[in-house]
Symmetry: C2
Amino acid sequence: MKNYSRQREAILQALRSTDTHPTANWIYNKVREQIPSISLGTVYRNLSALAATGEILAIDVGDGFEHYDGDISPHLHLSCRCCGNIEDLVLESDAFSQLASEHGFSPETSIYVIYGICKKCKKQNLNIGGN
Amino acid sequence: MKNYSRQREAILQALRSTDTHPTANWIYNKVREQIPSISLGTVYRNLSALAATGEILAIDVGDGFEHYDGDISPHLHLSCRCCGNIEDLVLESDAFSQLASEHGFSPETSIYVIYGICKKCKKQNLNIGGN
DNA sequence: ATATGTGCAAACTGTTTGCACACGA
DNA sequence: TCGTGTGCAAACAGTTTGCACATAT
């Protein structure tokens, strides 16, 4: 768990260089700054591998894109349906995972997404109607 | 918000007739028992419409399929990476949404997914390696 | 008649995969 | 040399969408 290829290293680095939750395509473009010859397929392959080993998190917020997160600690994802931004909210304790454990379920990864309107959009009165 | 077509009614009914979290295709096959001529496109269109109005929930557990849930109350989804089953766990209170509110975020829908191994799979020693 | 919804099938798009080649041990 | 990973591009699959027709008011 150390012998990373240059490509995987760059992918991991790109993901950890941001506090957003980028898509595969964003990472692809980012990594190309360092390794112009890298291919999208390689990005997907490595992201899948990293997610499978638990080194990164794959988050599906329902916008049709897979998002990735270098922060694997349990935290809330606040997904704004107005600007599309995904905000993090650190959790002091993961009561939900504990609850799941009490019910016989063995938690491994937790992905909590709350959809709504973020503070900024609300302030700008960019509120979207009932949609 | 009452004038539902026969198709939409059937889709809603099919979704609420099960305690699983079916995919669009499952619903499609289910509804075809009543309305054999219904098309997949119609199912998708209605599911999207129902999810947009908040009458149902669209859940992405990262298996490549969109899952739908007729229960829109905040609850945990326990996704077993062994058998693929999605279990519900009712929440008495949604502390996370409250936390988000305190941080200026206006929650509308909450989707909590915990990945792990369910009780049944664990009992059967179907435990999957580090994967 | 008009507006809304449907069935059908083609199109779309993010993701996956096969294959030949490159690189490190 | 051998195994693993890469680049490329074609293939895949779930979902969306355009269009003509059906249905209800």
